[in-house]
């Protein structure tokens, strides 16, 4: 029973990690807290759903959704964040415009879906569970775990093994110095926002499949969970986001299984609050992110 819960938590945590990786990538590289990330995730779920309903095979629908949300995220950056880069209060201003973008996207989704909760057609993924060492594992869980692992591995390879990734990391440590050395910041912004959006889109489709319900309001709880992962893992730390995402998934599944219902959110957010008090830089936060530094 415990092993089963741990496995279920791991699967849920893999999706949290995927969502938080994109969120954290943008924050770590550009110091932009993108509150529209939850809405992008929700749009991704819808894109995947309409892809499947339109007759695409699932793997193609996921790719299409990732492409859509990647481009959406780049557009958000161009319209809502780029004009603010020279502003003296950019940190604050960006937070506000991203709330605005979030409202716009949620409203659009509300209109398009007419506030209905939508479902994937039956049998997109086989439902027969496999029995492995006494664990019931559905093919869907395998798909989710596999997709999350693949995305995580690709992201790590991209950031740490390619020239583009080196440029991204250069900008994250010092944008001005990177520019002087010939890195084109626009290209870096494009890449980070595209990757961040694409990861959110994939996470959206996977969550849509896992709970088989897609609605305009599904982004907000994941955005809030994303904060938890961000702080616990350490702002700007990608390995931190991956580990904290998995941990959060397991914590949530265990509290649902062993505590009275309704306590889950209370426990999760209390962990966040305590973490901020005790170790605001998170488990993996290093010198980059210092919570106590004065503004500017």
């Amino acid at each position: 029973m415990l092993a089963q819960q741990l496995f279920n938590g791991l699967v849920l945590g893999a999706v949290y990690a995927l969502f938080a990786l994109g969120f954290n990538l943008v924050f770590g590289v550009h110091k932009i807290m993108n509150l529209a990330h939850g809405a992008v995730f929700m749009i991704g779920a819808f894109a995947g759903l309409y892809g499947v309903l339109g007759g695409l095979p699932l793997w193609l629908a996921v790719l299409v959704a990732a492409l859509c949300t990647g481009l959406l995220s780049v557009t958000i950056d161009a319209l809502a964040f780029r004009p603010l880069r020279t502003s003296s209060e950019a940190e604050f201003a960006v937070l506000i415009t991203s709330i605005g973008v979030d409202m716009i996207l949620v409203n659009l989704a509300l209109r398009v879906s007419e506030a209905h909760t939508m479902r994937f057609p039956f049998g997109v993924v086989p439902v027969e569970p496999l029995l492995v060492f006494g664990l019931r594992i559905t093919p869907l869980q395998l798909v989710i775990l596999g997709a999350a692992l693949l995305c995580g591995a690709l992201l790590a390879w991209y950031l740490y093994r390619t020239s583009f990734g080196r440029q991204v990391r250069a900008v994250s440590s010092n944008e001005r110095a990177a520019m002087l050395l010939g890195v084109e910041p626009r290209a870096v912004y494009f890449q980070t926002f595209f990757i961040s959006g694409a990861l959110a889109g994939i996470a959206g489709v996977l969550i849509g499949l896992a709970f088989n319900s897609i609605s305009f309001s599904m982004g907000e709880p994941y955005l809030l969970r994303g904060f938890v992962v961000l702080i616990v893992g350490g702002l700007g730390s990608l390995p931190g986001a991956a580990v904290a995402g998995l941990a959060l998934g397991i914590l949530q599944t265990l509290t649902v299984a062993y505590f009275p219902s309704g306590l889950t959110d209370l426990i999760v957010y209390s962990v966040l609050f305590l973490m901020l008090l005790v170790r605001p830089n998170g488990l993996f936060g290093g010198a980059i992110a210092d919570a106590r530094m004065a503004r500017r």
Binding site: I96, M103, L224, L230, S270
Partner: protein, 297 residues
């Protein structure tokens, strides 16, 4: 008189949201990025609602009690939160809002869970709301014109400089938190005494975003900023009745356009414009000293 009667609910709604916006404004003005207002409002609302329904207390006692409890929670919150800055503060206070929401849902015997508290006697009139907004404006206005207000400005603009001038940063952040909590508690209680029933989801992310939007639209420096912002947020959906289903879209667009083109908000933007124009006038008059030279000396 008919006109007033027709628009009275709108006026009441505006007054309540102006109160929330003022609570949010106090912290932002002091350079504290707290968005705890929604959580503090929920404390005030639930306290007043429980006092009024279960114990039959009148609003005259419930509102001051909620104000005090809000103040106490503001003080309590400031202990851990004054250590954090920027996005960390925002996230921590958002967590606080979520914890309050989860508590309201979980503590069913006390708060009614998801159903909330119903049948709250309506004891708040337009006049009462008007009085409370005026009182809040008076108190905040007095603070703004004296030392703490100047210090809040200094803290917002550059904390390092303020600290180097011997200002106690922690004390003034605590003061801002306490004020914000008291105002939120008061208007939470008034809301509970006005709308008959309260449910947890009134106090979620939507309230956070709406209140923040009012302050951003109006302006974060002048005391009239949040009031004007709340007025815009209340009237706009009414003006755009045909677009009623797209209210969020409208507010979202407004937020983005506003921050990009008039980042100080309506009131502060206009004030700055006027100041600049006056500055130009003075500059031109200095060039011709015969006209105003005597007057300035």
């Amino acid at each position: 008189m008919d006109l007033l009667a027709a628009y009275q609910p709108l006026l009441d709604l505006f007054l309540i949201s102006a109160g929330f916006a003022l609570s949010q404004y106090v912290v932002l003005r002091a350079g504290v990025f707290s968005i705890a207002t929604a959580g503090l409002v929920s404390i005030g609302s639930y306290l007043a609602a429980i006092l009024m329904t279960t114990y039959g207390v009148s609003i005259w006692l419930a509102a001051p009690a909620a104000t005090l409890v809000g103040l106490a929670f503001g003080l309590l919150l400031s202990i851990p939160l004054a250590r954090l800055r920027g996005p960390y503060q925002a996230i921590a206070t958002l967590a606080f809002v979520q914890i309050m929401l989860a508590l309201a849902l979980y503590a069913e015997p006390l708060t009614g869970g998801a159903v909330g508290i119903n049948n709250i006697p309506k004891q708040v009139s337009t006049l009462g709301l008007l009085f409370c907004v005026a009182l809040t404006l008076y108190v905040l206005g007095s603070i703004n014109r004296t030392r703490p207000g100047r210090i809040f400005d200094a803290l917002r603009q550059d904390e390092g400089v303020a600290g180097s001038l011997g200002i106690s940063i922690a004390f003034h952040h605590t003061l801002a938190f306490a004020l914000s909590g008291a105002i939120a508690g008061l208007f939470g209680a008034l809301q509970a005494g006005y709308i008959y029933s309260i449910v947890p989801h009134q106090y979620g992310f939507a309230l956070v975003a709406g209140t923040l939007a009012a302050v951003i639209l109006g302006g974060r420096r002048s005391i009239w900023g949040p009031v004007v912002g709340a007025a815009i947020m209340t009237v706009l959906p009414e003006l755009a009745r045909p677009l009623a289903d797209n209210r969020l879209l409208l507010i979202g667009l407004l937020l983005v356009v506003m921050i990009v083109f008039l980042p100080q908000g309506v009131v502060d933007g206009l004030l700055q414009l006027r100041r600049r124009r006056r500055g130009q006038l003075e500059a031109t008059s200095k060039a011709t000293p015969t006209t105003t030279g005597g007057m300035r000396a």
